[in-house]
Symmetry: C2
DNA sequence: TGTACATCAGTGAACGCGCGTTCACTGATGTAC
DNA sequence: TGTACATCAGTGAACGCGCGTTCACTGATGTAC
């Protein structure tokens, strides 16, 4: 911020780093996660393979950056879905769920990158931006549970969960986001996540179609049942939605 | 069966074909699905890479055979779990679910092979033994729903499903297994499958641990809720199980 | 404004790697007479 | 039982491929005086 006119060099550098990721994602979308190769990217940019090393130290570094970007795009879609819904927890949980599936169907290879095997031989760094994004996604969903807790507590308050059921770092993070959080609320959020993830990942990996013509119908029933799990009564409007 | 003494050649051939698959699975378990390479297998067998082509026409053929084997092993585990449970639908659905997770945790790479990206550049054949195994798995779960249908019908009989919601071949197959099957029962089976799959695949791909110390606890709660979805009342014994 | 120097994105060639696949061949195993 | 032939699993060498990564280099862009 001290530097009023950012270097032309720096700007070009940032643009090129971005273009590398964009092309990598394009290749991934076209030919699967295995198709992310430094040489192929360089070829498409009209560059030499070695030039990539000005931007990323290693192929794995690029993939890590890719995962972070993709995860952030997913989390953003989820957060926007919640923000766009009314304060009603029923609306929120259904919006979150719909956004999860919609994003996955629109970005199947990205979904595989984040929730499947990232790429052959890729070793994920233990923590980093991807872990941050995962935390954000989890926090968003926990937020929905928190807003439904007045109803959900009746069903889940006695689940026998304590903070010891989670990793300490995770507890610190999520409790700082929600002051008077019940330990069982996190478990509930995880279960919600699992339900969304199950049908969506079966669909993305081709295990529902073509046996089932319209996975959306199954998914919607699960969404409705989610609200039951939260102890919420489902408005008639949502049932036909 | 006409040939009383099967060729020694044929026997050795079958053994070698089996050994190739065994070694492939071993490599997969050790280094991930990407580590299945004809050359590496041949090396371990003390053979030349070209020799593999006496047994499999192509690398993809081997992978297809692998997937079929693995899927059969999973389906067998599931079928045995159901067979080992009492006739009580509650026991059956919980046995099925537990077997699903247990198998996945014991065979994580195999799980990825079947439900994730099989291998880089692998193209699955449209139908074949893998599809058969998938049908068997689906049939087994549908069988559980059928046995619970007297209770489940009350909740799901009016779901608005018809046979047109499924592919014709699939309908023929599953109806031949269960004479008076309700279309909604299949949808219910798929939803059960989705719930099992969600938490299990999140766990296998490392998205639950270490944030959640004991995914089994979450999973068990889902199992209990599965019985609710089937309209069954949950015995007290199962709750503490 | 002009000159001398530093920076650093990108080059081009090379390294070594493992891969799937093909092919003419050898030699042991099985078969037919 | 012995001989002539057919089968066919496995050899070994080669093909062409794309990959990640390194390195001495060039030449345009930026900086300091």
């Amino acid at each position: 911020m001290v530097d009023a006119k950012p270097n032309r060099r720096e700007r070009l550098r940032a643009e090129a780093a971005q273009e590398i990721k964009t092309i990598a994602l394009k290749h991934m979308a076209e030919n699967g996660t295995a198709a992310v190769s430094l040489r192929a990217i360089a070829r498409e940019m009209g560059m030499t393979a070695g030039a990539i090393y000005s931007y990323y130290d290693t192929r794995d570094d690029l993939i890590t950056a890719l995962i972070a970007d993709v995860y952030n795009s997913l989390v953003q879609a989820l957060e926007e879905a919640i923000a766009g819904a009314s304060g009603d927890p029923v609306e929120q949980v259904m919006a979150y769920g719909r956004a999860y599936r919609t994003w996955a169907l629109a970005n199947p290879q990205e979904f595989r990158l984040v929730y499947g095997d990232p790429a052959p031989d890729y070793q994920a760094p233990p923590c980093g931006p991807a872990a941050d994004a995962e935390h954000r996604a989890c926090t968003a969903l926990t937020g929905v549970v928190v807003s439904a807790w007045p109803w959900a507590e009746r069903l889940h308050g006695e689940g026998g969960y304590t903070w010891d059921d989670y990793s300490p770092e995770f507890v610190v993070m999520v409790r700082s986001a929600f002051a008077d959080l019940h330990p069982a609320a996190i478990a509930l959020a995880m279960r919600l996540w699992g339900r969304l993830h199950g049908l969506v990942s079966l669909e993305i990996y081709g295990h529902l179609r073509p046996q089932v013509q319209d996975p959306a119908k199954l998914f919607h029933e699960e969404l409705v049942d989610l609200t039951r799990l939260l102890g919420l009564s489902v408005p008639v409007a949502a049932l036909s939605d």
